[in-house]
Symmetry: C2
Subunit: 279 residues, 2 copies
């Protein structure tokens, strides 16, 4: 049984073509409270709920769906969260802060036995979920989307921490990969350089987990242009775009594409195959 939450409504059409969806009623009362109701009986369910803005509503809705499924006799509950809210609040950087992702994962653990997330910011935080938890990278989907456009191109990570993501895509396509290195060259200036790789005359795909302001991507693109790169493509799993970021970034690069973990005008790569893999 596949239950689609409000935060995954944009994926419903594509999922429906391949798998039956459980009938549910989800609405909001005039006082702002969510109401959910599961209209079919069953034993196992997979809830699909992405938690972009308004993330707190989508999180509480996931909790209520969990309660409704348990109340209705479902024994085994999995939840798929394409975009996991609060995943960047993953450590205490200033005294007095919470580890917000911990609180949210503990909450989901009240009802769900298993958790599947797409490309979470810090996979180590999945340890906070009390049950089995798995991180899924949409490498195959991103690779396929850019395969023809890239030709004999290069995959680059914007920093060393994001290298695994670039590597996974490069290996699928049989291409070279590397990452940028940041060097402080003056108190106000940071230089970004692609490490040990020649981008001259090559198409390049820069790939990260999240794009928000797009500032780093624009800077990286400028450097690649100076180094004589051919086309520059930018991709990410999650398009958490700040105001105006899509426009600024689209102007700077040859193509911008993110997956549909969050619905945006440039969510051109579908992660639905990864959800269907779990069935």
């Amino acid at each position: 049984m596949l239950v689609i939450g409000s935060g995954a409504k944009h994926l419903e059409g594509e999922i429906k073509e391949k798998a039956p969806i459980t009938n549910v009623e989800i609405k909001k009362f005039p006082d702002g409270e969510k109401y959910v109701r599961i209209l079919e009986k069953g034993d196992k369910a997979i809830v699909v709920q992405s938690t972009y803005k308004p993330q707190d509503e989508f999180l509480i809705e996931a909790l209520l769906l969990g309660d409704a499924l348990r109340e209705n006799g479902y024994r085994k509950l999995k939840i798929v969260i394409p975009y996991m809210a609060y995943s960047r609040q993953d450590r205490v950087t200033k005294e007095g802060e919470p580890i917000s992702i911990r609180a949210v994962l503990k909450m989901l653990g009240l009802y769900y036995d298993e958790l599947y997330v797409m490309d979470i910011h810090n996979p180590k935080t999945l340890e906070f979920f009390p049950g089995r938890a798995e991180n899924i990278l949409p490498s195959k989907e991103i690779a396929e989307y850019f395969s023809d456009k890239l030709g004999e191109g290069i995959i680059l990570a914007p920093d060393k921490g994001a290298l695994e993501r670039a590597k996974a895509i490069a290996e699928i396509l049989g291409l070279e990969y590397s990452h940028f290195e940041k060097k402080r060259i003056s108190p106000t200036e940071v230089q970004m350089t692609p490490v040990n790789i020649d981008v001259k005359g090559k198409n390049v795909l820069i790939v990260d987990d999240i794009i928000s302001t797009g500032g780093t991507m624009i800077k990286a693109t400028e450097i690649l242009r100076k180094l004589g790169a051919e086309k520059v493509f930018v991709a990410a799993t999650h398009g958490v775009f700040a105001e105006g970021a899509i426009e600024r970034l689209s102007k700077a690069v040859d193509e911008l594409a993110v997956t549909n973990t969050i619905p945006t005008p440039v969510s051109k790569i579908s992660i639905v195959p990864e959800i269907l893999n779990l069935l």
Copy 2:
């Protein structure tokens, strides 16, 4: 240590006059995520957070505050929730529904040892909270507010289920009390009658836990007028007013007053003394 959440911001000024408040930073990131930070160290804390609309944000914020306090070494955590969201979703009326209040109380139980709510719709639901939980009626505050206005008046509950609330207020003021009884007199018409009490020439206060549309209160007021009541006052703990309800109700009665568990233009009765009692 007293921590004020965003949903209790309207109570802060009055609380501050009597008790020191812990410095906290609460803000929202551009992507919609809440950020909280506790700026003082301590061992025990009482979080005050009301959960009216946007209730899901206030609930998640309470969760994050709980995590921040635990992370910061606080051992004993209490939470005071003047208005408890989802408290009317307290039973399965149609197959497939959750018991939403159960889900929310279990969530709060992840971090809080004790829970104090004001006049929850169904006090039995407090059993879903894993720790100690208490329901507080603002009878004293409502009684004091109407004491002079009522004179030798009568306290009425809109139905038998709400009688305890009317009784508590009547006993404080040494006044008579009763309740309305509903009788279906035709397929479309329900008659409401005050039981075993003569309202003629008397001031009357009708008191309930929640007012939303105000329909029942307007109907009850019309009947009291017909029966020759003098002034008719309407009070409730929680003013969850539907669009236009304050205006309609204010026109129909001599005075409408609710407590400040939810900030509204007619939240004239403060429950802050009940919060200070817990210190």
